[in-house]
C-alpha cells in the first residue's frame, strides 16, 4: 500500500500536468479570434459563409471566426478604412480588385499571398487575377467576378409595349421614348450614394472617348484633362437622357434600396446595375422574387464612339489578408477554404460568378448569357470608384450627377472635376 500510494500520486500529478498543458493550449487557442470584414450580402450568401465559418472553427478548435458586415457604401468609404486603422483590424477583408487593393499593398495593409496564389492558380479562371496582382505580387484572392453595369429590364413591360433589345444608341432612345409615352419611367436610378449613375455614365466615357484615353484620364496621367472632347461628348449623351426625361428626375435624392420599390411596382422599366441584381436585389426587394420577370442587355453601341462598343464594365472581387494580422497562417488557411469548390458551387447556384473553375452551371440560361457577355469582348473596363483613385471618382460622380439633371453643362461639370482633383495630379 505504501508503494501504491506514491505511484498513484505520481500518476495523478502527471495527469494534472498533461491536462494543464492541454488546457493551457486550448485556453490560448480560445483567445484567437479571426476577424473578417465585408460589405453586407444577401441572406443566401450569408448562409454559405456561416457554414464556411462553422467548418473552419470545427477544424481549428479554440479559434473563433467573427464577420463584420456593413452596407456596401459605408464599408467602401468609411467602414473599412476605420476598421483598418482601429486597434482590432480585420485579419481578412473583402475588396474590389484594382486601385483599392494596390493602395492596401502600398500601405502595408495587404499580405503578399503569391505562394497561395501559385498553389490555387490552376483551380481559378485565368481572368480572375486582374486587379489582384501588383509588381508581380498577389495581394487579393479573387473569389468572384461581377459585371458592374448591365441594363436590367422588365420583360413584361417590354413585351407589353412590343419592344426589342436595342443594338444602337438611337434604338435605345427610341425605346425610351416609347416607354415614357406609356407613362412609365424608362430608366430608374437610386443615386443618392452617387455610384449607380457614376458607373452607368462611366461606361459612356470609355465607349465614346476610347478605352485607352479614358483609362489615362481616370488614372490622372500627366497632361490629361477631364474636360476633353471625348468626355464632353459622353456627358452630352448622358445629359440628353436627363433632358428628355428618360431618367427619374429625383435620381440624386433617391436612395439605392428605396429605389427598387419603384422598379418592382412596374412604374419603371430599366435599371442599370450589375450581376448582383439577380443575387441580391431581386431576392431582397421583389415582393415575390419568383415572379420578378427581368432580363438584361449590354449597353448599345454609340454611333461615334472611339472605344470598344462591346466592352463591359466589371471587376474581380475577393479577399485580402491583412499584412498586420497576428494570425497569418490562419488567415491564409481561411482564404484557401473560401475558394473550396464545396462552397463555390453553392455560391454559383445562387447566381454568383465564382472564379473557381467548374462551378458555374453553363446550362443555366442566365449564367450562360452573362458568360456570353463576358466572352464577347476583349475589353473589360473598371468602375471609376474601385479601379481608380476614390477622390477622383467622387468628383467625377458629382459631375455626372449634375449633368444628368442638367444642373451644369458637361463642360462646366468636367472643368470643375479638373479643378477639384488638381492636387492629385502632382
Amino acid at each position: 500500500m505504501k508503494r501504491v500510494f506514491p505511484l498513484l500520486l505520481s500518476i495523478l500529478l502527471v495527469f494534472f500536468a498533461v491536462g494543464n498543458i492541454f488546457a493551457k493550449g486550448a485556453q490560448e487557442n480560445a483567445k484567437i479570434t479571426l476577424r473578417i470584414a465585408s460589405p453586407s450580402e444577401g441572406p443566401d450568401s450569408i448562409k454559405i459563409y456561416d457554414a464556411m465559418m462553422a467548418d473552419f472553427e470545427k477544424s481549428h478548435p479554440g479559434v473563433t471566426v467573427t464577420w463584420d458586415r456593413s452596407s456596401g457604401d459605408d464599408y467602401q468609404f468609411q467602414g473599412l478604412p476605420s476598421l483598418l486603422a482601429s486597434d482590432t483590424p480585420p485579419d481578412i477583408y473583402f475588396e474590389w480588385g484594382g486601385n483599392r487593393v494596390k493602395n492596401h499593398a502600398e500601405d502595408g495593409e495587404a499580405l503578399d499571398i503569391s505562394t497561395l496564389a501559385n498553389e490555387v492558380r490552376p483551380n481559378l479562371v485565368s481572368s480572375a487575377w486582374s486587379g489582384a496582382v501588383f509588381n508581380n505580387k498577389t495581394y487579393m484572392l479573387p473569389t468572384n467576378q461581377d459585371v458592374t453595369i448591365m441594363m436590367w429590364y422588365n420583360k413584361d413591360i417590354f413585351s407589353k409595349l412590343s419592344l426589342s433589345i436595342p443594338k444602337t444608341w438611337d434604338q435605345f432612345l427610341s425605346i425610351c421614348a416609347k416607354i415614357k409615352g406609356a407613362g412609365i419611367t424608362p430608366i430608374l436610378m437610386g443615386n443618392s450614394d452617387a455610384w449607380v449613375a457614376g458607373n452607368f455614365v462611366g461606361v459612356f466615357l470609355y465607349r465614346i472617348a476610347g478605352d485607352d484615353i479614358a483609362d489615362e484620364v481616370l488614372s490622372l496621367k500627366k497632361g490629361t484633362r477631364f474636360n476633353n472632347p471625348g468626355f464632353i461628348k459622353a456627358m452630352e449623351y448622358a445629359s440628353e437622357l436627363g433632358k428628355k426625361g428618360y431618367i427619374n428626375r429625383d435620381l440624386n435624392t433617391l436612395g439605392y434600396d428605396p429605389s427598387f420599390a419603384r422598379l418592382f411596382d412596374n412604374s419603371s422599366a430599366m435599371y442599370p446595375l450589375g450581376t448582383w441584381f439577380k443575387t441580391e436585389v431581386i431576392p431582397e426587394n421583389a415582393p415575390d422574387p419568383s415572379k420578378a420577370n427581368f432580363d438584361f442587355f449590354n449597353l448599345p453601341a454609340f454611333p461615334d464612339g472611339k472605344g470598344d462598343q462591346t466592352s463591359y464594365m466589371g471587376l474581380n472581387n475577393g479577399f485580402v489578408a491583412n499584412a498586420k494580422t497576428k494570425y497569418k497562417e490562419l488567415a491564409i488557411e481561411f482564404l484557401k477554404l473560401m475558394i473550396d469548390k464545396k462552397y463555390q458551387v453553392q455560391f454559383a447556384k445562387i447566381g454568383t460568378f465564382s472564379t473557381v473553375k467548374g462551378t458555374l452551371d453553363k446550362s443555366d440560361p442566365y449564367i450562360s448569357k452573362v458568360l456570353d457577355l463576358m466572352n464577347s469582348t476583349q475589353t473589360l473596363v473598371s468602375p471609376p470608384d474601385t479601379g481608380y483613385n476614390l477622390e477622383m471618382a467622387e468628383s467625377l460622380y458629382a459631375a455626372i450627377a449634375q449633368v444628368l439633371v442638367n444642373a451644369k453643362t458637361p463642360e462646366a461639370a468636367l472643368s470643375a472635376v479638373d479643378q477639384k482633383i488638381n492636387h492629385l495630379r502632382k
Binding site: 468609411q78 478604412p81 443618392s192 452617387a194 429625383d250 435624392t253 477622390e391 455626372i400 439633371v405 444642373a407
Partner: protein, 289 residues
C-alpha cells in the same frame, strides 16, 4: 498656511487637466498635423504649407463654406427667430406648459428618426409635401436637391431646435415683472407694441446668446445633412463638417483635413469675437429684475 492659500489650485486641477486633454492637446496636434504630409494614416513629411495653399483653391471647400453661411442665415430665422415668436405667443397663453412641451418635444427625438421622418415628407415620389402640392395641381419638387437643398435642411433644423430657443426666450420673458407690462397696458400699448418695445429690449442679451449658439452651432451641423442627403452626389448641401469627414475618413487626407479644421476654428473664434463686440458695443447690459 501656504497649502491652504493655494488649495484652490487643487480644486481647479481636475477641470484644467480635463480641458487640456480633451481640448488643448488635440487642438495643438491638429495644428501640428496641418503642416504634415500624410500617406493615409502615416506621416511622410513635416513642414509643408501645401495644405493651406490648397485650401485657397479648393472649389468644394468654398462651396461647403458658403453653404454653411447660408445654413446659418436660414437657421438664425428658423431656429432663434421662430423660437422668439413662439415664446412671445406662448407667454400669453393659458396652460402654456402644454404648448411649451409640444414645441420642445422634437428636440428629444434622435437625429436618425428626424432624418427618416423628413425624408418621407420631402420625398419626390409620393412624399407628403409633394402630395399636398399635387392636390392643388402643382408640379412635384425635388426638395432635397438643388436649389432647395439648403432651405429644406434648414427647415428641419428649425423644426427641431426652435422649441429649444423658445424655452430660453420664454425664461427671459417670464422674468419681466408684471408691473411693467401692466403699466404699458394702462398707457394703451397694444400687445405687439409691448412685445416689440418692452419685452424684446429686455431680453436682448438672450437674443445675442441665441445668435451665438446658432452661428457657432451652424458650423457643427452634420447629422441632419448626412441622414437627409446621404452622399449628396450633387454637393448641393455639402457643409463644412461633411466636407471634413470626407477629407479625414474617406480620402484619409489627415494633413489637409487638419489645415481646414484649423482655418475653421479661426473663423468660429472670429465670429465669437464679432458677436461679443456687437453685444458689448450696441446691446450693453440689461437691467436685472
Amino acid at each position: 498656511m501656504i497649502a491652504k492659500k493655494n488649495s484652490y489650485i487643487l480644486f481647479a486641477l481636475p477641470a484644467v487637466l480635463l480641458f487640456l486633454i480633451i481640448v488643448v492637446i488635440p487642438l495643438l496636434f491638429t495644428v501640428l498635423f496641418s503642416f504634415t504630409e500624410w500617406r493615409r494614416f502615416n506621416i511622410i513629411n513635416f513642414g509643408t504649407m501645401e495644405h493651406y495653399i490648397r485650401s485657397t483653391k479648393d472649389p468644394v471647400l468654398r462651396k461647403a463654406f458658403i453653404h454653411n453661411l447660408i445654413y446659418i442665415l436660414f437657421t438664425i430665422f428658423l431656429e432663434s427667430g421662430v423660437g422668439l415668436i413662439l415664446a412671445g405667443i406662448v407667454i400669453h397663453l393659458r396652460r402654456s406648459i402644454i404648448y411649451r412641451s409640444l414645441f420642445f418635444s422634437p428636440i428629444i427625438l434622435p437625429s436618425i428618426v428626424v432624418g427618416v421622418l423628413w425624408r418621407q415628407i420631402y420625398a419626390y415620389h409620393s412624399g407628403l409635401l409633394n402630395s399636398i402640392i399635387g392636390l392643388f395641381g402643382g408640379k412635384e419638387i425635388d426638395w432635397l436637391s438643388y436649389p432647395f437643398t439648403m432651405l429644406s435642411v434648414s427647415i428641419v433644423s428649425g423644426w427641431l431646435f426652435s422649441g429649444f430657443f423658445m424655452t430660453i426666450f420664454y425664461a427671459g420673458l417670464a422674468r419681466i415683472p408684471d408691473s411693467i407690462i401692466e403699466s404699458a397696458k394702462l398707457d394703451g400699448a397694444s400687445s405687439s407694441k409691448i412685445f416689440l418695445k418692452i419685452e424684446l429690449p429686455l431680453i436682448k442679451n438672450l437674443i445675442m446668446l441665441a445668435l451665438l449658439i446658432v452661428t457657432t452651432g451652424g458650423f457643427k451641423g452634420f447629422d441632419l445633412f448626412q441622414i437627409l442627403l446621404r452622399r449628396d452626389p450633387m454637393e448641393s448641401g455639402i457643409v463644412m463638417p461633411v466636407f471634413l469627414v470626407r477629407v479625414f475618413f474617406e480620402n484619409q487626407d489627415i494633413g489637409y483635413g487638419s489645415a481646414v479644421s484649423v482655418l475653421l476654428t479661426f473663423v468660429v473664434i472670429a465670429i465669437i469675437i464679432i458677436i461679443n463686440f456687437i453685444n458689448k458695443t450696441f446691446v450693453g447690459k440689461v437691467e436685472e429684475f
